[in-house]
């Protein structure tokens, strides 16, 4: 039921996730940030079994920090993604597998290129231009298939993510009240929070940059 979307441009990645923590049919929390900032240009968004999500993502976060300290440089996106996948694969074949689905997106300051990795709970990994997990993917993929272009600008990518969210709100049985969106580019990580608006009687979302209050809307 959780929402997780990623869109990669040439030199940026947009990650979006919902903020709900649910237990059975009850919403326990409405403002959970489901992303971890692995270092200054890589972000990991995680969904799945609540306990697994916390312990797995904290373990990954700490180790990636440690590797960065040892090597005296931040790890690249592919290094983060492949180490995470390896750890997940090892756990999968042990007595204590983790039930988590991940998107890892980041920007490489040396090559000036961005990349997006999709990893699922069976630890398959692939580098993709756009990605989603769970029920959400049925709605998001059709829109992204139609609208994705290689030369998407940052604003267009955010707007595409907003359209996905709007479509979810419109068609998906389990609508979600709020989202967090992050853009990772050369300057670092930018965080946006969602703001519901009413548009001709239908709900949509604006995204507000947390740092400077700049609003991005679909239009």
């Amino acid at each position: 039921m959780e929402t997780q979307i990623g869109i990669r441009g040439d030199n940026f990645v947009v990650l979006l996730s919902d903020k709900i923590v649910a237990q059975s049919i009850v919403k326990m929390k409405h403002n959970q940030d489901k992303m971890k900032q692995l270092n200054k240009n890589n972000v990991m968004s995680v969904t799945g079994e609540a306990g697994d999500v916390d312990s797995f993502s904290e373990y990954i976060e700490a180790n990636i920090k440690l590797f960065g300290l040892r090597q005296n440089r931040p790890l690249t996106t592919s290094e983060c993604a492949y180490w995470t996948r390896g750890t997940l694969a090892e756990a999968l074949r042990s007595r204590s597998p983790y039930n988590v689905n991940l998107l890892i997106g980041g920007f490489n300051p040396n090559t000036k290129k961005s990349s997006l990795y999709r990893i699922d709970y069976l630890s398959s990994i692939c580098e993709v231009p756009f990605a989603a997990h769970g029920y959400t993917s049925y709605f998001a993929y059709s829109l992204m298939d139609k609208e994705y272009r290689k030369d998407l600008t940052k604003e267009e990518a955010i707007k595409l993510a907003i359209r996905c969210v709007k479509q979810l709100d419109h068609r998906f049985l389990v609508g979600q009240p709020g989202f967090i969106l992050r853009v990772i580019d050369e300057e670092g990580i930018h965080t946006y929070d969602s703001q519901p608006i009413l548009e001709n009687g239908q709900r949509s979302f604006n995204f507000v940059n947390v740092a400077n209050n700049v609003v991005v809307s679909e239009a």
């Binding site: 904290e58 373990y59 700490a62 180790n63 920090k65 440690l66 300290l69 040892r70 005296n72």
Partner: protein
Amino acid sequence: MAYDTALTVFSPDGHLFQVEYAEEAVRRGIPVVGVRSKKLVLIAYGRQTTPELQDPRTIRKVYNIDEHIFMAFSGLNADARVLSNEARLEAQSHRLNLDDPPTVEMIARHVAYTQQKYTQSGGRRPFGVSTLLAGIDPNGTPRLFHTQPSGIYNEWVATAIGGKSDDIRELLEAEYEQVAESEPESIEETKKLFGELAIKALDKGAHCDDIGIVAVYAQNGKPVVEHVSKDIIDALVKIVEEKKREQEEKARQSLIL
């Protein structure tokens, strides 16, 4: 009986010779000076002259341990690398287990604990390393710790390790208070004032052509580990040399009179 072969054997007068030899290795190391103010901790170290064809960037005198802590050492380079790795692991596992950054003392205690372990069981050799651990506690206080090969650790406001550290400490004891009393408001000025003291102290130990300075302080509630730029260091070195020359001149004048 030779009391300096097996590590775990005391000599009749209560010495562990291998540990004392390790301390000797530290005494032969390049001096490192650590100074603490109200706002920051700062460490000054001299760099070895490298052979012409060697890449000087591969020589590290300071290791970052976490976002808010770093370590400088004197003694055996290779041993220090093992210790720094141990400290980094402890820092991250502290964060993972307790969801909080460690204090500088916790890391110092862990490094000292590791060093002590290597003095008490067979088949091991003590670390030939003394470390200075400098950092900002999560509450914003600057701290400075010193660890020894025996596993002793102490907190200091200003100290030195390595060769001629006694002479350097003497100078720090004489001059620290006066400098600390006149601590400026801005971080930039404080860095310069204490940097000057550290360079002067370092110069007392051995003349270094190439000096490095690392400072840690809190900025907007976040820790910053700064490798001070070469321009600032060169300017400070010039000031120290200038003052030294003036003092010598004054001494000569008074001698003539």
